[in-house]
């Protein structure tokens, strides 16, 4: 049988993949996609804990799933704003690479 640890392990690996993507890749669109991977890894562990804590009525703990609902909503808003910023940036600089956008770099 699958244990809680299996789901948490998959969630941890997925989060690390997304984190490595944010750190290594230089394309802004790929960075946004890696952010989505990280948010979804967090969702997976939330749902796993929700299923693990079965209440006295024999149902999963739905508080975590409500939280997942909020995370998905905020992630969708974040992607929309991020891509709009990307388009605005592309109009000015003609690039989506963070290599060329370093005015604020220390």
């Amino acid at each position: 049988m699958t244990t809680l640890g299996d789901y948490l392990l998959v969630s941890g690996i997925l989060f690390s993949i997304g984190f490595a993507g944010v750190m290594v890749r230089r394309n802004l669109i790929i960075i946004l996609m890696s952010l989505e991977l990280m948010l979804n890894a967090a969702n997976l562990s939330l749902v796993a804990f929700s299923r693990f804590r079965v209440g006295p009525d024999g149902l999963p703990n739905y508080n975590a799933q409500v939280f997942v609902f909020f995370v998905i909503t905020v992630a969708a808003a974040e992607v929309a704003v991020g891509l709009a910023i990307l388009v605005a940036l592309f109009r000015i600089r003609q690039t989506t690479s963070v290599r060329d956008i370093s005015s604020l770099k220390f």
């Binding site: 640890g5 299923r51 999963p60 409500v66 997942v68 989506t96």
Partner: protein, 167 residues
């Protein structure tokens, strides 16, 4: 769900998640992300979270992916040409991710509950949409309204950002 199906969907999620990061072409990355999210929604369904699994497909595979693909095609992004990779920076990024992963694995190994299987659900029917909706409108009414305002602000912000500046 049988362990075999769990590992099939888990590997699907992880392999295509890695493909998102490793691919040079943004369109391939976006399509890999869709497959990864489909595997993830199968994992949600395996945890009896049918509502979350379905909105995962609807919102991510449906809406967010169309947005990503639309932007990629609008900006006409091609596959990145081979840059000289800054190996030090790449090794640093991957190294931090691996350290994070080691820490997660270590924590899971020392977490007592992680070795237990999931307890059986004793309820006869799982009407999770009704339960989540009731929680959302009773206990979490204020956060729901705040998220509504957030989405409204995001919409206005997107329209404002995409407006072409008069020259």
């Amino acid at each position: 769900m049988s362990p075999f199906l769990f590992w099939v969907f888990a590997l699907m999620t992880l392999i295509f998640g890695a493909a998102v990061v490793l691919n040079r072409n943004p369109v391939t990355s976006a399509l890999s992300l869709v497959v990864s999210f489909l595997g993830l929604s199968a994992l949600f369904v395996s945890l009896d979270a049918y509502f979350v699994g379905i909105i995962q497909v609807l919102v991510y595979a449906g809406a967010v992916m169309v947005l990503f693909l639309f932007i990629i095609m609008l900006l006409n992004l091609q596959a990145e040409e081979r840059h000289r990779i800054n190996w030090l920076a790449a090794a640093g990024g991957v190294g931090v991710a691996i350290i994070l992963l080691i820490q997660v694995v270590f924590t899971i190994r020392h977490f007592e509950a992680a070795r237990q299987t999931f307890p059986a659900l004793s309820a006869s029917t799982i009407d999770d949409v009704r339960n989540i909706g009731a929680l959302l409108f009773r206990n979490y009414n204020l956060p729901l309204q705040i998220v509504g305002v957030l989405v409204l602000v995001a919409t206005i912000g997107v329209v404002f950002l995409s407006k072409r500046e008069p020259r």
